[in-house]
């Protein structure tokens, strides 16, 4: 709770500070300090008796602390790699930061919810902040389009989610997770609106985390938004989204798992397949990463499918986020230098800037799931767990789509190392400060270390 308060206050403070003339470094410093303080306040709650706040609307236990730490940690990692992006924003810089702070507030509310109302509030705070951020490049038509599409789809999804919540409330008589769980485990005949409500909630949440076939907004929105916002959306938001998704289904609906397990397994198969198939033909790295995030969402959904082992989900989202952020930060630099985000802009990167080339390669290997990287261990954990639960077909489809995935991830690696840059591209300067290089290097080391010793993060929950 103190985390939430700190972040909200920092956001408000930044908004007010925007009235005065503050230097960029000060704004960045305030934001980072706020996040560090929030993280500290969050870690303080680790291994303590679960505390309830706001009349039991928020309940913070180890699961929540772990995921909030993941969210904050990954956001800090992303912000440290972002000075390039923020350096280019001319107007309303503090408002940008404030919006990110508010979206983090929304995410924390979303993760630590104990009451469906709080889930809704968290999702809304997060989404509204992101609608604005997606459209933050006001003169770029793609950005406008992304923002509008995201807004319309997001509001639509919220409507469906709300109807689901309402129906569940009507059936169970309570918004609290414990009350709903009691209703579902009571053994009485469940009213049909409970089932309809459950499915509507499933559909609504699937929209938010871009699970197929409700993912069709993802490529356009991810492609049109500024690259930094895309990085934020595809990593941090997914962490929060799946944390909420898993918590909801694990606590409330596990007792009726036989009703939704087949539906969710079909969703998983569709997601990984569609995500892999559509990524093959992409020429833009940004769109490729967007489609690949859809297929990774499929993997994360597998944990919901199994209905257990939250630590697999935690490890997967952390591994995926770190790899994805490394990829996006390299993409941001390349995009700035080359003017576009095509695969061809990456050609010859290894010779021009070896660190960036190496970072992108390690990140692609991790996203593809090649051993010695965090992505491989994450996939092993999840696939073993799914296999154990008896969903052999899901495992088979996942492995087949992993093979397809290697193809398109390697297109980028081949471009980096084995194609030669044209003369004009050799002259690109990639503006990266030493802070950027250090943090990027730490990211690479983290991916490899987590691939060799995943227990550092995995055994926490």
């Amino acid at each position: 709770m103190i985390t939430l308060v700190i972040l909200a206050l920092v956001g408000l403070f930044l908004m007010i500070a925007g009235l005065f003339d503050i230097s960029r470094k000060a704004v960045f410093g305030v934001a980072m300090t706020g996040m560090v303080a929030a993280l500290a306040g969050n870690l303080y709650m680790w291994d303590k008796v679960p505390m309830a706040y706001f009349n039991r609307m928020i309940l913070i236990d180890n699961y929540d602390v772990a995921f909030i730490t993941a969210v904050l940690g990954v956001s800090m990692f992303l912000f440290l790699l972002s000075e390039n992006y923020f350096g280019k924003i001319q107007n309303y810089l503090t408002e940008h930061y404030a919006l990110y702070m508010f979206s983090l507030v929304g995410m924390i509310a979303m993760i630590s919810f104990n009451n469906l109302v709080m889930l809704f509030i968290g999702i809304e705070i997060l989404s509204v902040s992101l609608y604005i951020l997606a459209g933050s490049e006001k003169n770029n038509l793609s950005s406008n389009e992304a923002s509008l599409k995201y807004f319309l789809m997001g509001a639509f999804a919220t409507g469906i989610l709300l109807m689901g919540i309402t129906l569940i409330y009507g059936a169970s008589g309570s918004f609290y997770l414990s009350g709903i769980e009691q209703y579902f485990t009571s053994g009485n005949e469940l009213s049909p609106i409970a089932y309809i409500g459950m499915f509507l909630v499933l559909v609504g949440m699937s929209f938010k985390v871009s699970v197929a076939p409700f993912h069709f907004w993802t490529p356009d929105v991810y492609d049109g938004s500024p690259t930094f916002v895309t990085a934020f959306m595809s990593t941090v938001v997914k962490i929060a989204g799946f944390a909420a998704f898993f918590k909801l289904f694990y606590i409330c609906f596990s007792s009726v798992i036989h009703y939704w397990v087949e539906v969710v397994s079909v969703l998983v198969i569709l997601t990984v397949t569609i995500g892999a198939m559509t990524a093959i033909t992409q020429k833009s790295v940004k769109r490729l990463l967007a489609y690949s995030s859809v297929s990774h969402a499929g993997y994360m959904l597998m944990v919901v499918l199994v209905g257990a082992d939250a630590d697999n989900l935690m490890f997967y989202v952390v591994a995926y986020s770190i790899s994805s952020i490394v990829a996006f930060s390299v993409l941001m630099l390349v995009q700035e230098a080359a003017g576009n985000a095509e695969i061809t802009s990456f050609e010859g990167l290894a010779k021009v800037n070896p660190l960036l080339g190496f970072a992108m390669t390690v990140s692609m290997l991790s996203l593809a799931g090649i051993p010695l990287t965090a992505g491989f261990m994450a996939k092993v954990y999840i696939l073993t767990s799914v296999f154990n639960a008896g969903h052999g077909i899901v495992v088979l489809v996942a492995i087949l789509t992993a093979m397809v995935g290697i193809y398109y991830y390697f297109k980028v690696i081949i471009a980096i190392y084995f194609k030669t840059a044209t003369e004009e591209r050799k002259l690109f300067t990639y503006n990266s400060s030493s802070l950027f290089k250090i943090v990027l290097f730490i990211g690479i080391i983290a991916i490899i270390v987590l691939g060799i010793c995943p227990d550092i993060i995995h055994n926490l929950i």
Binding site: I370, L372, F376
Partner: protein
């Protein structure tokens, strides 16, 4: 403990090497490789005294029950020795080239050697799998960054093909893991394990064994390669730089054979037995097919690549015939083939760097200009042809003997390999070394010191192990007997 050092020294060396700049990279790399060889010989010594002292276990991923469990059995000892002997020779063989970015090149070679040793000593299935895949990354970069003109597509096809096989193996790995149910060493709750002994003790049904067999075997078959999974091999061998091809053919394909021996046979023995016939047939078809194609090749490197498929096909057929002769033959032939093929590819590299071509027809009369090369070439080539008194002979003889015990007709067809092998090898030698000197080979200089230093040990091994193979036979006898017992007892209990 020593095994741990042997395993991790190449990785540490690779890291250190990547930081070195300048010309001394080659010598430092060679130094590390020789140190590895010394360590491997010490391990060999220890193995003869007390094999148990070489095993090492420690916790790796407790949440999965995977341990850093390494152990050296007879066959893996032989292969570790092969790796440790070949890597310094391979590094030495690259000295005459001036590759750009040498620090990365040698670091990748050493990293790959570490991963290869890891495959051979891993006693934990997940560790085996990680090293199996990890060995692929360095060789991909070696082949793709320093290779021939067509390398990008070819190496990517190689990588994708191999990874697809490995992913099928992953399904098998996960399934086996979930079948185990052993008490945790600390908490004593039942949990799953990747440990080799636990996996062998599993009681799998016949259906399970069959599909698990194919899941694992696809990966091994692609690696060796066995017909019809061989299509990646000739192109990749041709396009890779000489050191890359030597690594691939000398050591990496032994990974596939080793996988069959060490993991496939003990764990999936019924499935093994049931599917043996199909595999032997495919392998022998591959032998004849590859031999015939080898005769038709104009490019020396491609010819040796096809001959490698033929040799490996015979070894694979021997593996699946499952009797003492064929298994021993397979093991010896692994070592012999590794040494021979590295020698042959190096000679091709020498010829190519001197004359600029690998085309058999356009060369000739080199022996007049380079007699030392001629002599060493003929020794190694005859080893590949399996002439008695060379290292190829004991292996080939035992293999054919073993396959004959399994099925006389198949053995007769397989025996064609000797004849066909002699045809293409001798034809190549005749066209390249003998005959008249022409414009291309006019200025052929004889071997330099480093080249001599590489070829002489290889030729020596060819002759010595040809005359006295008993040392290796003794080394691996215990392991082979153990394997036979494992496979046969389980068959007996069914009947």
């Amino acid at each position: 403990m020593m095994t741990l050092i042997v395993l991790f020294l190449p990785f540490v060396a690779a890291l250190l090497l990547s930081l070195v700049k300048g010309e001394s990279v080659k010598k430092i790399a060679l130094g590390f490789a020789l140190a590895e060889l010394v360590l491997a010989l010490m391990v060999l010594n220890q193995y003869m005294i007390d094999p148990k002292a070489l095993s090492f276990t420690c916790f790796w991923i407790t949440s999965l029950g995977a341990h850093l469990n390494i152990d050296v059995s007879g066959i893996s000892m032989l292969l570790v020795l092969l790796t440790a002997v070949l890597i310094p020779l391979i590094i030495l063989s690259t000295f005459k080239h001036d590759y750009k970015n040498p620090a990365a090149f040698y670091a990748l070679i050493l990293a790959m050697s570490g991963a290869l040793i890891g495959v051979f000593v891993a006693n934990d299935l997940l560790l085996f799998y990680v090293f199996w895949e990890a060995a692929l990354i360095p060789i991909y970069f070696i082949a793709a960054l320093w290779g021939g003109e067509n390398r990008i597509k070819v190496t990517f096809k190689f990588f994708l093909y191999t990874v697809i096989g490995s992913l099928f193996m992953l399904i098998g790995v996960m399934y086996l893991y979930l079948q185990t149910n052993v008490p945790h060493p600390i908490t004593f709750e039942p949990h799953h394990s990747f440990d080799f002994d636990h996996l062998v003790a599993l009681n799998l049904s016949f259906q399970e064994q069959c599909w698990l067999f194919w899941a694992f075997f696809i990966a091994f078959a692609i690696k060796m390669p066995i017909f019809p999974f061989h299509t990646w091999q000739p192109d990749t061998y041709t396009e890779a730089p000489a050191a890359g091809t030597m690594l691939l053919s000398g050591i990496m394909l032994k990974m596939g054979i080793f996988g069959v021996l060490h993991w496939l046979m003990p764990i999936m023995n019924e499935g093994f037995y049931a599917n043996a016939k199909i595999v032997i047939t495919l392998a022998i078809i591959g032998v004849v097919y590859a031999s015939i194609l080898a005769i038709m090749q104009k490019d020396m490197k491609r010819l040796i690549a096809y001959s490698s498929i033929a040799h490996v096909g015979l070894i694979a057929a021997g593996l699946f015939a499952v009797n003492e002769q064929s298994l021993q033959g397979a093991v010896i032939q692994m070592f012999a083939h590794g040494v021979n093929v590295v020698g042959l590819f190096f000679i091709i590299d020498i010829i190519e760097s001197r004359t600029g071509t690998r085309d058999i027809a356009s060369l000739g009369g080199i022996i007049n200009k380079a007699p030392k090369l001629g002599v060493l070439f003929v020794i190694i080539m005859l080893g590949a042809v399996a002439l008695p008194l060379t290292n190829g002979f004991p292996g080939e003889f035992l293999l054919l003997n073993g396959i004959f015990q399994y099925n006389a007709v198949l053995a007769a067809v397989a025996g064609l390999t000797i004849i066909l092998g002699a045809v293409y090898m001798l034809k190549m030698y005749q066209n390249v070394m003998l005959g008249e000197v022409n414009a291309l080979t006019e200025k052929f200089t004889d071997l330099t010191m480093t080249e001599f230093a590489v070829l002489v040990p290889i030729a020596a091994i060819v002759i010595i192990t040809g005359i006295y193979p008993q040392y290796f036979l003794d080394l691996t006898q215990g392991d082979v007997d153990h394997l036979l017992k494992l496979v046969n007892t389980n068959i007996v209990t069914i009947k």
